[in-house]
């Protein structure tokens, strides 16, 4: 009898766990769920000349954002990303910004004026961006802990709003289970 109860408990646990995974997250506006595909390599330097490789964040969700200062929606979205960064501080989300083919001076002056706390990787020749094939600029991908692209955001999004912050926290909560 004890064995049967144990078996039922295991079944219930498995069921509960699978329903957590299977329960579809409520998608904020402009986010598209994609069939999983491996994220392309991403090895670049940041504005302080530090080398970065996306693989360091293996095992965690990653927010990968492509932008350029000449792109109007990117300019409008950047302050929202800075506020989102503040709100996600202390979480396990890896936030990675990639400037597309602009000079360090341009990136530095732009970020200093609109989002001074944001650092960005510099894809100086634009070749890494080509590998990711964004739909346009800005583009944001959410990459799962296994390194697969799972979501793409269409255009600029109000990332600091509750809808998006809750969604990001829900993603992290799922992966922590």
């Amino acid at each position: 009898m004890k064995q049967v109860a144990g078996f039922i408990n295991i079944v219930l646990l498995v069921f509960a766990a699978s329903s957590v995974w299977a329960a579809p997250l409520s998608l904020p506006k402009g986010l598209i769920l994609l069939p999983p595909r491996p994220a392309p390599a991403l090895k670049l330097k940041d504005m302080d000349d530090n080398a970065y490789d996306l693989r360091v964040a293996q095992g965690r969700w990653k927010f990968v954002h492509f932008w350029a200062s000449w792109c109007g929606p990117c300019r409008r979205e950047m302050p929202s990303i800075q506020r989102m960064l503040e709100r996600m501080q202390g979480s396990s989300l890896e936030i990675v910004l990639i400037n597309v083919a602009e000079s360090e001076d341009t990136v530095f002056s732009f970020l200093a004026s609109v989002a001074p706390d944001v650092n960005s990787l510099l894809d100086t020749d634009g070749l890494v961006t080509e590998q990711w094939q964004p739909r346009g600029l800005p583009s944001t991908y959410l990459v799962d802990p296994q390194g697969n692209i799972r979501y793409v955001a269409i255009g600029g999004r109000p990332w600091e709003t509750k809808e998006y912050i809750d969604f990001l926290h829900a993603l992290l909560a799922h992966s922590d289970k």
């Binding site: 083919a101 634009g126 080509e130 600029l137 255009g155």
Partner: protein, 168 residues
């Protein structure tokens, strides 16, 4: 079948809108284009090449609840002389490679172009430049879109008459 949607125009700007899409086309002057690319460090040789081209900044928004397929291959520009040449991004890429334009400028230039093919999701707005052979003549534009995630739904036709390249 409904006829093509027609545009409303205001100096160098044309707008076509219904409940499914909003298409905006703005003809840019050579000075505007030169200023944009010069500010990003593009060399003079390239700016001189761009002067011979006609830039139309195009924005398309999907207002429907379905996917809308846009394919530039289904966009036709015609003047009294016949079909107007549109430069494909690959042709422009080859041109920049031939003159040895630095990779960073090639990349920026590509990102300022509208994609050749894109499935616009509900609410999505993407855009970029269309590059045509510069002409002083008025020309017409006709495009076909397909509504449906699998690119197999109903067709939507858009027409804009009397477009013009913008002059300085």
């Amino acid at each position: 079948m409904a006829g093509p949607l027609l545009a409303v125009s205001v100096q160098n700007k044309w707008v076509v809108e219904n409940k499914e899409i909003k298409l905006v086309m703005i003809a840019r002057t050579p000075e505007q284009m030169a200023a944009f690319y010069e500010a990003r460090g593009f060399p003079k040789t390239v700016i001189r090449e761009l002067d011979k081209m006609c830039f139309i900044t195009t924005s398309l928004r999907n207002k429907s609840q379905d996917v809308i397929w846009m394919k530039l291959a289904n966009w036709k520009f015609t003047s009294k002389q016949g079909s107007l040449k549109r430069f494909h991004r690959n042709e422009l890429k080859a041109r920049w490679q031939k003159i040895g334009l630095a990779q960073q400028y090639q990349s920026t230039f590509r990102w300022t172009l509208i994609p050749e093919v894109l499935d616009y999701h509900p609410g999505e707005r993407e855009g970029g430049n269309i590059v045509l052979q510069r002409t002083a003549e008025a020309f017409n534009f006709q495009a076909q879109f397909v509504i449906g995630a699998e690119d197999d739904g109903k067709s939507l036709s858009v027409r804009i008459n009397n477009l013009r390249c913008a002059e300085d």
